[in-house]
Symmetry: C2
Subunit: 260 residues, 2 copies
């Protein structure tokens, strides 16, 4: 897949930073020494971690060079490095592994989450937030539009492009971590984001979930796909009483602490 | 209905206070002068409001004399008064009307919420949290057990005891308030509370949602009803990997601000 677009991603930065802050607020640590921000993106979550834990060594990791460049420009005092969360192993055992809106891109959560949890120092915390929106109209309609003859050959199986079958139920994440954790807190929140119009919803997902659908298309196909998708979104998200649209965006949060 | 039981209600105080704190954290006010805590119960939420806004006049209201007595004993420095949120009208326009886990007991939200919002001073905030768990196994099974011949005569229509049909979709609350508000924030969160066993889940709802089902029964019927309900709960909430049960508890949050 081509590299990420930090400018498009940060267009909805307030909305994207809110769950990052809510996840961090639930981390039961006072003075971690070493904290990793997995999938740090343009550094918005890394900045939050550094502000809450000013004495910690905070390191942001991402697989995207463009995102890392954007993060370094924004936070020149912090360390950023390229890494793939699926295989990453830290030099020293961290007190906090924080993974906001990244693990949903990776397969095999039943192995991945216990592996990350096992990397922690005693008393350490794994904090994870993942969008859980594959059943929402935004994502269902990507798959529906992609299954039309016009684009099916280029995009392939919409279930693959749409990353179906990776996410577990919230209780499934509890089951994975509870036997080896001192404490596991799991919750699922759907924020209802107020969007100016249907096009804003298309822009939002263009920076993330829509990328695997758009990448294989040539520019002309892309325009056609986006037009068909925008029509579908317009129908699925009706105008509210003030003329705006509400984008319900469910997310799963997991905070697991190792025994000290 | 008989009066509430503050001791039973506060048995799960940590879990019940968490949504109260999360609601308060989203209130976009710095120095409100007058704040009302509608349905203050034993005062756990009133204490949070007073701690966040130490210069505000904070008044707790509840319809239950037992809850008010418990709140006064806990917070002797604050004012508590008996009132029914459905008809309450303040002397002066408040800057904050905070209603945590109370409006779900009242009918006609389409009238009630705009009425409360209309009572605010300019720039004021209405902050509401309501359990949205009537479709959860806890509440579905209350209605199922109540429909058995043994108890149907005493309890009557389970849909009435179960308060079906009062809650709107989250977007419905947005629609009610958005046209007259400067800002409306709506979200829905399901915490997954870790419970020791099925009996703990029964205890939890015994203090709240189960009350209209238990009140009409004589002591012997109550014992039988609770036994049948406990069996149903035991089946609906399987043991997790650590032997505990997870109680998914969805709640709707609404924060609406008037233009200054």
């Amino acid at each position: 897949m081509a590299d990420w677009n930090p400018a498009l991603y940060t267009r909805f930065e307030d909305e994207r930073t809110r769950p990052a802050a809510e996840l961090l607020a639930r981390v039961p640590l006072d003075t971690p020494r070493l904290a990793y921000d997995l999938g740090c993106g343009p550094g918005n979550s890394t900045a939050l971690i550094a502000a809450r834990f000013p004495d910690a060594e905070v390191i942001g990791l991402d697989s995207s060079p463009a995102m890392l460049e954007s993060a370094r420009a924004r936070l020149p005092g912090l360390t950023f490095a390229q890494a793939d969360a699926a295989s990453w192993v830290p030099d020293r055992a961290p007190d906090l592994i924080y993974a906001n809106a990244v693990l949903q891109w990776l397969p095999d959560h039943a192995t991945l989450l216990p592996r990350l949890f096992g990397l922690l120092a005693p008393g350490g915390v794994l904090a994870v937030q993942m969008p859980d929106n594959l059943a929402e109209p935004t994502h269902r309609l990507m798959r529906e539009v992609a299954s039309a003859d016009t684009w099916a050959a280029a995009i392939g199986d919409p279930a693959v492009a749409g990353r179906l079958g990776r996410m577990l139920e919230p209780a499934g994440y509890y089951d994975l971590l509870a036997p080896s954790a001192a404490e596991v807190d799991v919750w699922r929140t759907a924020h209802h984001h107020r969007m100016a119009d249907a096009a804003a919803i298309v822009d939002w997902v263009s920076a993330t979930g829509l990328r695997p659908f758009l990448e294989p298309l040539d520019p002309e196909e892309r325009t056609g796909f986006l037009a068909a998708y925008a029509r579908a979104i317009d129908g699925a998200y009706p105008c509210r009483s003030d003329g705006r649209r509400l984008l319900a965006f469910p997310r799963v949060f997991i905070v697991a602490r190792r025994a000290a």
